[in-house]
């Protein structure tokens, strides 16, 4: 027996992973620095497949990084910057202690700084990759831009976040790429389709934050540092993809007016300009003027293996999209001061509507309340005094629901003071067997172009459908119970037999039992299935049971929801009846 002795944990997966502490020692960084580095470089722990093997036989809970990742971090120029910064802080402290102010000045002048450009490029080798990962960046920037300008984090960061967020919103308006909006209790969700990639972000409602104490703002700030860099580059690229000027400039007169005061400086440098831009009321200046026949017919490129039906479907989808983009075209909105201005202005502008607000509310109002051409006024108060004829007074939910429904919904449900219909999430796509709220069914019917007038019939049908479903489910349950039933039947028969033994024999006219052939067949099939399931391999059986458990749970949940709804509807109906009776009496 020759050869070298094979030692344990010196090959295989044990050598591919490294614990966090070891990694830190290898990089010679303090824990906060290591954390920052990991955040910036996007290094995260990996869960090894065989944890015990990697952990050298121990089962202690440890986090593991890929050794390759850590080796890759070794070459990172930023690591040196971290060290330089540490030295800088030390020197600065010393100079302060000795009150050598000239040294302090000199040191501050030479403060080491780093750029994250190369990291962005490295983490997102292609632009599409960057777009795919934009969700968190946007949500974070929108959150930071709402922070107060005091404490918590640097004012510059907050301003930068605000600037980038506003730039992105302006891009979405210019490209009309907003698709879905949702008013949740957490904030407002938006989903835009940027160059084919869905990008979802959430903005909090415009209230002051009560800053929690158990949140490490340094971590958040580090993330934001990276996200702002990423978002800046993405914005640049996006603006250029639309031939827009970056940094953004407002189109038309505003530019001319502001130019002498600002010269070549960046538009956002002046506070007022940022505000004007963030008012979202003006379109942006383009490098090349848009040609009128921008919306060309899409050429058809038949792809192999694609049937005509698919092509048609695609075309239809495209048309629907175009239609959605022009949803509010030609409508003129006026926002009352009590509605959240920024989200509504953003949404309305995204779909081609014109929007204005009270002049004292925000900069950038384009027309007055008294403008006779206003078609919709968004109001969020129980009653409106002095209504102007010729315009709809609507609650803000109408805008959101219309966008999600891809059509202008009937306005009657959204008048001020009216009990609003439920606001549904546009992010839910119901599969077969899922519970679909009746409002959604109604909406789907409306989208198909059916007349919403025959609501009651539809509802009944729905109910019928639901009932059918219930029955089917019950049948399934019955199948499970059938064995028990059989047993019970057998028992009964036995008892009868024993009784017949004991009692004097007596013949009674038997009843002709009508055997349901279908039912019999079904039973047989289910039994066959049961028997086949018995023959499954252990692994497959486990999987099968798991899947079936999940399915059953889903069905149960859907049933529960349906039941709840039914109960609720019944309660409402009864109340209505009572009210009617009371009125009659």
């Amino acid at each position: 027996m020759g050869g070298l002795e094979k030692k344990k944990y010196q090959r295989g997966s044990a050598t591919n992973y490294i614990t966090r502490n070891k990694a830190r020692k290898k990089l010679q960084l303090s824990l906060p620095d290591f954390r920052r580095l990991c955040i910036l470089k996007g290094i995260y722990p990996h869960e090894p497949k065989h944890k015990k093997k990697v952990n050298k036989g121990s089962t202690a809970a440890r986090t593991f990084y890929l050794l390759k990742d850590i080796k890759f971090l070794l070459h990172e120029p930023i690591v040196n910057k971290f060290r330089e910064y540490k030295v800088f802080v030390r020197k600065l402290r010393k100079a302060y202690g000795k009150s050598e102010w000239s040294t302090v000045e000199r040191l501050k002048d030479n403060k080491p700084s780093y750029k994250l450009d190369h990291i962005v490029k490295e983490r997102y080798p292609t632009f599409t990759d960057a777009l795919r990962d934009l969700d968190d960046a946007l949500s974070m920037c929108f959150l930071f831009s709402t922070f107060p300008r005091t404490g918590k984090c640097h004012v510059q960061t907050i301003q930068l976040c605000r600037r980038l967020a506003v730039e992105f919103l302006n891009y979405v308006i210019a490209s009309r790429s907003l698709r879905k909006v949702f008013l949740s209790i957490k904030g407002i969700y938006y989903q835009a389709e940027v160059l084919g990639q869905p990008v979802t972000w959430i903005t909090p409602y415009a209230f002051a934050h009560d800053h929690p104490t158990d949140v490490d703002y340094r971590v958040m700030a580090t993330f934001t540092e990276f996200y702002t860099t990423l978002l800046g580059f993405v914005n640049f690229r996006l603006y250029h993809s639309l031939n827009l000027l970056y940094p953004p400039k407002i189109e038309g007169q505003a530019e001319v007016e502001l130019k002498p005061a600002e010269g070549e400086a960046y538009a956002m440098d002046s506070e007022s300009y940022l505000e004007k831009l963030s008012a979202l009321s003006a379109s942006l200046a383009r490098v090349v003027a848009p040609t009128p026949e921008d919306d060309m017919e899409m050429d058809e490129f038949p792809v192999e293996g694609e049937t005509a039906e698919q092509m048609d479907a695609k075309k239809k989808e495209q048309e629907a999209l175009e239609k959605q983009k022009k949803l509010f075209e030609g409508l003129r909105f006026f926002l009352n001061r009590e509605v959240p201005r920024e989200p509504l202005a953003f949404i309305i502008r995204c779909f081609g509507g014109q929007v204005s607000w009270d002049k004292s509310l925000c900069i950038g109002a384009t027309y007055d309340v008294n403008d006779p051409s206003i078609t919709h006024q968004i109001v969020d108060r129980p009653r409106v005094e002095q209504q102007v004829v010729g315009r709809y007074y609507l609650q803000p939910q109408w805008v959101f629901d219309s966008v999600n429904a891809k059509l202008c919904l009937p306005v009657a449900d959204y008048f001020p003071g009216v009990l609003l219909p439920p606001h549904l999430s546009p992010f839910v796509t119901e599969q077969e067997g899922d519970y679909i709220p009746p409002e959604k069914l109604k909406l789907l019917a409306m989208q198909r172009g059916e007349n919403p007038g025959e609501e009651s019939e539809e509802e009944e049908e729905e109910e019928d459908d639901n009932d059918d479903n219930d029955e089917e489910e019950e049948e399934e349950e019955e199948d499970d119970d059938s064995e028990k039933e059989e047993e019970a039947k057998l028992k009964k028969m036995e008892e009868q037999k024993t009784q017949s033994k004991a009692l004097p024999v007596k013949v009674t006219a038997g009843k002709v039992r009508l055997e349901d052939k279908q039912r019999l067949e079904q039973e047989q099939q289910s039994e066959e299935k049961r028997l086949a399931i018995m023959m499954m391999k252990k692994r497959e059986k486990y999987l099968y049971k798991k899947i079936m458990f999940g399915k059953k749970r889903k069905v149960r949940e859907a049933n529960k929801l349906a039941e709840k709804r039914k109960a609720h509807d019944m309660a409402i109906k009864e109340e209505k009846k009572k009210n009617k009776k009371a009125r009659r009496a």
């Binding site: 955040i39 995260y44 869960e47 890929l66 959150l143 209790i185 957490k186 039994e527 899947i547």
Partner: protein, 755 residues
């Protein structure tokens, strides 16, 4: 109003004022020359008694000044009313004090000249040539004590010394409080009378002096003519002038290179040469943002991107997160309570759905920052692993088996129930013809049944619990072996063909004992007549309780298993020779059951975990089958002889193909509880298993002659009928020898027939 010369008086004075002030006192000194104080002048002069002066004699005043004589006044120090003023005046410059001394003396002069007019003249003169008399040596110093606190002279009659060294006496003061009060009341100039501390004399301030004091008190300049708002001339301006500001010639050192500077410069030069000092870096002027992805290079995608596990996106919100969700998504009270009691990590929703009537009623979400922070933590702290999501249609997982309907015949329904036993029925056996069934029970009876009618033909009470029962498989012999406690009874049931059972009796009686007695592990005893009448023919008495008894296919040999753990566990008996032997020398574990091969001379012994196959002819172990079970309970062999099934107490059924391997060909986990018995059908490809869960499962087990084709096992029927009693269900199963029927005996003291 009393005049109170304030202390800032001296500090705020501009230089010009000093000149002026000096002049005043100088002037008053001069007046004193001509007015030696009258000795004994007690009362202060009234305001009207102005200071007499003669401007014409100005030039002589210095010389005459020494002539002035003061009368010493002892009581001056005790005058408390003027103390304040004294203190305040201490701070005045010293050069004022001698003149004041004279001013004090002035009122004592007998001259009746008007002060005002004289002063005015003097003023005019002042304005004419201000600097003429402005020299330091003109200062008149009468008192030579110097700048000392004057209270040192408080207790002396004099107040200092003049230039000659003679004492200057304080003016006589003998005013008491009443006098002072009267003076205050009567003297209209009392408010402008101050005491000179240097001389102790009272001085009446002139209008100009009062005016000056007022101005100073207001913070104005002392000189009326001084204009504080004159246009300033900036001498030291930033502009380069042709003339120097000062007339001072340049220093010599300004022409000579400095050594110190040279040293400093050379140090710096050295530092630059050595690279210790670097030039300030120019600020980068590259734009912050540019087209980063201008040159997208697919090759730049690093290898680590392949290992990259992108973070899963945040879950998109459902209907329940809406500010105005459909009513069914709102939590009821119990659900809310349950939600609150759950651990935050276990909750399905991390918020409670809520409904608001309108958008303006929606409050801020208090956990917004928390959630973003948790997302951040997830992104950089959470270990990631790629998990394959199974996207399988569960129907595809179900194996495609031939339909049971195509595998008929097999028992499907319960046809008959054999009742009669009063305790659990442990064992069953059937006659080779299939006409009679025998069952042994815990109620210490053995019952013989007619299969087709379920009628109990015979009941044989035995001495104990019947553990096992076996009908001789030879159709020509009508004999049943019954294991009761420590003995095996061979019973002739006397059922069916009379010829047949008669022949059996004859066969047994034809036994001739061998000449020499052999040592046997058991005792063969012929039944007594009483027992004989019951049907018992022979009793094989063992040393231990018998667990199982089984016949060889030919019907001559049978084997019995004893509850023992020595090598005496298995015994093989030959009926015709009434001879027994112990085949094993060594115990290999607790034997559960034994079996004869139907065709070949093999013998199967099942211990707890293994089945050993012995060749009886060669007397050796041929195979050892691993059952992969914890505890084998029963065993059955396919009539072909190549396949065995083993039931176990851990609810498994192992199918062995003896040609294939020593491991099970298939492990079937059909039952939910322990298997008690298994059985093969003699002709049909069927096998059955009975279990504690009260069910009998009949499977189709087709064995092909073609060795290449593996047996086909399909469960075809689950038969239920037995009720669970004491957690026991089916205890024994048995196939009918010719029909596709299966018998089962259960703990509910019945035997059932399924057809």
């Amino acid at each position: 109003m009393r005049l109170r010369p304030s202390s800032p008086l001296t500090f705020d004075l501009p230089p010009r004022f000093f000149f002026f002030f000096n002049f005043i006192f100088y002037f008053s000194v001069r007046t004193a020359v001509f007015a030696p104080p009258p000795a004994g002048a007690g009362a202060r002069p009234l305001a009207g008694a102005a200071v007499p002066e003669e401007p014409g004699t100005e030039s002589d005043d210095l010389t005459d000044s020494e002539e002035s004589v003061y009368s010493g006044l002892e009581d001056s120090g005790s005058d408390s009313s003027t103390e304040e003023e004294e203190e305040e005046e201490e701070e005045e410059p010293k050069d004022g004090s001698p003149s004041q001394a004279h001013a004090k003396g002035a009122p004592r002069k007998s001259r009746s000249l008007e002060v005002d007019s004289a002063w005015k003249e003097n003023q005019d003169l002042l304005i004419q040539n201000e600097y003429e008399e402005d020299s330091s040596d003109e200062e008149d110093i009468r008192n030579t004590v110097g700048n000392i606190p004057m209270e040192w002279y408080q207790d002396f009659p004099h107040i200092g010394y003049d230039l000659e060294g003679k004492k200057i006496y304080k003016p006589i003061r003998n005013k008491d409080e009443l006098d002072k009060f009267l003076e205050k009341m009567e003297n209209p100039d009392y408010w402008r009378t101050v005491q000179d501390k240097m001389t102790g004399a009272d001085i009446k301030l002139t209008d100009e002096q009062v005016d000056l004091v007022h101005r100073l008190q207001k913070g104005q300049f002392g000189d009326v003519h001084f204009d504080p708002y004159e246009p300033a001339i900036d001498f030291f301006s930033h502009e380069v002038m042709i003339h120097p500001v000062t007339n001072r010639p340049a220093d010599k050192r300004s022409f000579i290179p400095s050594l110190i500077e040279k040293e400093k410069v050379s140090k710096l030069v050295h530092a630059i040469k050595m690279g210790w000092i670097k030039p300030r870096k120019p600020k980068e002027d590259t734009p912050t943002y540019y087209d980063l992805w201008a040159h997208e290079d697919p090759n730049s995608i690093l290898g680590r991107h392949k290992m990259h596990v992108p973070a899963p996106k945040m879950k998109l919100p459902g209907h329940e997160e809406s500010y105005n969700p459909p009513p069914e998504y709102l939590l009821s009270e119990e659900e809310k309570l349950a939600w609150e009691q759950q651990e935050p990590a276990e909750r399905k929703l991390n918020f409670v759905p809520q409904q608001y009537r309108c958008l303006r009623a929606v409050p801020a979400y208090s956990r917004f920052i928390h959630e973003r922070f948790e997302r951040c933590l997830d992104l950089y702290l959470c270990p990631r692993q790629r998990k394959m999501r199974v996207n399988v249609d569960p129907e595809d997982l179900i194996p495609k088996l031939p339909k049971p309907r195509d595998l008929q015949p097999f028992p499907t329904t319960q046809a008959l129930v054999y009742r009669g036993h009063t305790s659990l029925v442990r064992c069953l056996s059937i006659s080779p013809s299939g006409q009679w069934l025998v069952s042994g029970s815990d109620d210490c009876t053995v019952r013989f049944w007619e299969v087709s009618t379920a009628r109990c033909m015979k009941t044989l009470p035995v001495a104990g619990v019947v553990k096992s029962i076996a009908w001789n498989p030879n159709p020509t012999i009508c004999l049943v072996a019954i294991a009761v406690e420590q003995s095996v009874l061979l019973v002739n049931p006397s059922l069916g063909d009379k010829l047949l059972y008669g022949a059996t009796d004859q066969l047994l009686e034809s036994y001739v004992a061998p000449e020499e007695e052999r040592v046997q592990p058991v005792q063969w005893v012929v039944a007594t007549t009483e027992e004989h009448s019951k049907g018992i023919r022979l009793i094989v008495q063992h040393s231990r309780p018998v667990k199982q008894v089984t016949w060889h296919g030919k019907g001559d040999y049978f084997a019995s298993v004893l509850a023992d753990n020595s090598n005496m566990q298995v015994l093989i008996h030959q009926t015709s020779k009434r001879w027994s032997q112990n085949p094993f020398r060594k115990s290999k574990g607790l034997v559960q059951c034994v079996l004869f091969h139907p065709i070949r001379p093999y013998f199967f012994v099942a211990t707890q975990r293994y089945v050993r196959v012995y060749n009886l002819l060669k007397q050796e172990l041929t195979k050892k089958l691993m059952t992969n079970c914890k505890w084998v309970s029963s065993m059955a062999i396919h009539p072909g002889g190549d396949n065995i099934i083993c039931g176990s107490y851990d609810s498994k059924l192992a199918w062995f193909d003896l040609d294939l391997s020593t491991r099970p060909y298939q492990l079937l986990r059909h039952h939910k509880k322990a298997l008690r018995s298994v059985a093969f059908h003699k002709h049909y490809p069927l096998f059955a298993s009975g279990s504690d869960d009260g069910s009998v499962i009949v499977c189709h087990g087709m064995v092909y002659n073609d060795l290449l084709q593996n047996p086909l096992l399909v469960p075809v029927k689950v038969l239920k009928g037995h009720a669970l009693t004491w957690d026991l269900g089916v205890l024994d199963v048995l196939f009918h020898p010719t029909q596709p029927w299966v018998f089962s005996s259960g703990a509910d003291s019945t035997v059932r027939l399924f057809t």
